[in-house]
């Protein structure tokens, strides 16, 4: 295959674009897609401080690299989840990336700061480890951004992530979640703005970007995510994509352009019900927020077990 732009030998084909690219023009393609996502949704203004949610995986490191390459002032925040060797390798990847580029990586360790880790939370609550992980990440990334004056939190959600979440939300008609599923969530009292600048790039593209620009990322899958519902949705969507290239992009971009607004009122209504958590002050619809309830439950179990 030849590069669509310069006719040099291609390194990656992207079937939904009916195109292949050489290294140079693939990197430009990634930058262009992120630039377009940011501009289309007014995600980040010049001079704003960005906090990148960094896991050490391909998406978050590609995102950080692309944002810095586009000229944004972006620090990283790595959250230690306590998932044994997986977390050790992920943390090393994040630190190496930041160190080699002279970027500021902040770190929060769940066990040290909050007294629990993801495996412990999953075992205690008998809930999905991904649920405890996602809840912890949302809380910590937002808290650090609000407390330390970052204008925006950028996450590495890609096109495949958004398609899988959208499929899950549509299958159950989770109208509140559909109202909040968007490339940008504006800031509101107690919440920093959240943006997903990679939502126009598939995860094959973010992985290829890392390989081609020399980013050493955590390649192994999280052992706690094995068999989860989200991966099942991705498998189903990839089967559709194999038969009909562009299906995932049409699904997500069509939702953003034509359907999201129909559910936006639900998200506004939920936001109007928010008030400060009596424990930590974060916005919640209950007296105590879900994060503090998780901490209390896991912490009390830990004490009981001693």
């Amino acid at each position: 295959m030849k590069c669509r732009v310069c006719r040099a030998p291609a390194v990656l084909d992207i079937r939904r674009h009916n195109a292949a690219f050489c290294r140079e023009h693939f990197v430009k393609h990634c930058r262009d897609q992120v630039r377009r996502a940011i501009d289309d949704h007014d995600m980040i203004s010049p001079g704003e401080r960005v906090l990148v949610a960094v896991s050490g995986g391909k998406d978050s490191l590609a995102l950080w690299d692309l944002l810095v390459g586009l000229g944004y002032e972006a620090d990283g925040l790595y959250l230690g989840l306590g998932i044994d060797e997986y977390s050790a390798v992920s943390g090393r990847a994040a630190r190496t990336f930041a160190g080699e580029r002279g970027l500021r990586l902040r770190e929060v360790d769940l066990a040290l700061e909050y007294g629990y880790d993801v495996p412990g939370a999953a075992a205690t609550t008998h809930r999905s480890p991904c649920g405890a992980c996602g809840l912890s990440k949302r809380h910590v990334f937002n808290s650090v951004a609000v407390e330390d004056g970052y204008d925006v939190v950028a996450t590495g959600h890609n096109l495949d992530d958004e398609a899988a979440v959208l499929l899950g939300n549509v299958l159950r008609w989770e109208t509140g979640y559909l109202g909040r599923q968007h490339p940008i969530l504006p800031a509101s009292p107690g919440f920093a703005r959240k943006v997903k600048p990679l939502y126009r790039l598939g995860e094959r593209e973010t992985a290829a970007y890392c390989v081609l620009v020399g980013i050493d990322y955590q390649v192994e899958e999280c052992p706690m995510a094995e068999g989860n519902r989200h991966l099942g949705y991705k498998g189903a969507l990839n089967a559709l994509e194999d038969r009909s290239p562009g299906a995932k992009a049409a699904f997500v971009f069509g939702f953003v352009d034509h359907a999201h607004d129909r559910f936006a009122d639900e998200a506004v209504a939920e936001r109007d019900d928010l008030h400060p958590c009596v424990v930590c002050g974060s916005p919640t619809t209950s007296d105590v927020c879900a994060f503090c309830r998780l901490r209390e439950r896991v912490g009390s179990r830990a004490v009981h077990a001693q």
Binding site: M1, G131, A225, R229, A239
Partner: protein, 66 residues
């Protein structure tokens, strides 16, 4: 050829020559879910792989967003 697979990491021998597309089909791997790396570079699905090549099939699907 030697084919390196991940999650879990393992190696299988496949007879060459083969295109990348044919290799993925024989291994029942969705082209949408992997990168194919030959040496230190990515290869497209029409690339021909010889009997002596070493290739890595690297999954790109990450989960966890529940």
């Amino acid at each position: 050829m030697k084919v390196v697979l991940r999650n879990p990491r393992r190696e299988v021998e496949m007879p060459g020559p083969l295109t990348v597309a044919a290799l993925l089909e024989q291994l029942h791997v969705s082209p949408e879910s992997v990168l194919v790396i030959q040496g230190d570079t990515l290869v497209t699905r029409d690339a021909r792989l010889s009997d002596t090549d070493v290739v890595e099939i690297r999954p790109v699907t990450s989960g966890g967003a529940e």
